[in-house]
């Protein structure tokens, strides 16, 4: 893996190979990030929770209405 470095005073640009330590750090960061994403996807969002509750209420209203029309 590489990074680009730009010195704003001199304008010098160079492509630098990451050190083994930096690569290991990046891979650890990526693993943590992917785990966080997996956790986030398995947890319903606030919007999803609200929608689920709204769906339940709608179904209950339909059920009550059906019982009243018997």
């Amino acid at each position: 893996m590489q990074k680009i470095e730009v010195n704003v005073l001199t304008g010098e640009q160079k492509i630098v190979d990451l050190t083994a330590e930096e690569v290991a750090q990046a891979q650890a960061t990526n693993a943590a990030w992917e785990a966080e994403q997996a956790q986030r996807q398995s947890t319903p969002t606030f919007e999803q929770t609200i929608q689920s509750q709204a769906d339940t209420i709608t179904a209950l209203i339909a059920r009550i209405s059906a019982l009243e029309n018997r």
Binding site: K3, E5, V6, T29
Partner: protein, 198 residues
């Protein structure tokens, strides 16, 4: 009366005067700082644009200690993965990777929000996004920096991303890094540059 003090590379110090009522400091014929009745002001300094077509991060280093405002400019930037772009500010040549309170929301036909403590996040989570816009950072006091941004992409789908956050650095800011949340995705399109001013 204005005095212009010019540090010429060929003639040494040159002092000239006119009647505009300002003091101008020049380096080799170019005004770097002006002091007049409204205060002191200098030029906005542009960095050098860099092609964001490779690398897992792009660093702008050696920012002067007097910088109080930085504008990071994105021109059609993209990555090869779904890891969200991050901007990290740094001190002593090392990016700060913790302590951010940053939120980024994408707005399209729906909306979604992402938060980050690892950097100022920009919620483009698809390799297909090609985004443009700016992220502006200003120094509140000491080493406290706040930032806000509007960026957009019309690739994949039309999305506007609004972001803002704050971080307190352990020392004076002297670098800006663009990377991704995971740190391993590679930039594969566009260019990036910064403006800085004191």
């Amino acid at each position: 009366m204005t005095t212009t003090i010019n540090a010429s590379t060929s003639n040494g110090l040159i002092s000239t005067a006119d009647t505009s009522g300002a003091l101008a400091l020049q380096a080799n014929g170019t005004t770097k700082l002006t002091v007049d009745s409204t205060g002191a002001y200098g030029q906005v300094v542009s960095g050098t644009a860099v092609a964001s077509t490779s690398g897992t991060s792009i660093d702008f280093t050696s920012l002067p200690s007097w910088v109080k405002r930085i504008t990071v400019m994105f021109n059609g930037v993209s990555t090869n993965g779904s890891s969200i772009p991050l901007i990290q500010l740094g001190t002593g040549g090392t990016p700060t990777t913790t302590g951010y309170v940053s939120t980024s929301s994408e707005v399209y036909s729906a909306a979604a929000t992402n938060t980050s403590t690892a950097g100022f996040n920009i919620y483009f989570d698809n390799a297909g996004y090609i985004f443009s816009g700016t992220y502006i950072f200003v120094n509140v006091s000491g080493n406290i920096w706040v930032g806000s941004s509007v960026t957009s992409s019309q690739a994949v789908l039309a999305v506007t991303v609004i972001s803002a956050g704050v971080v307190t650095l352990s020392g004076g800011l002297n670098m800006v890094r663009l990377t991704t949340a995971g740190g391993t995705n590679t930039f594969d399109a566009g260019s990036i540059n910064i403006l800085y001013e004191g």
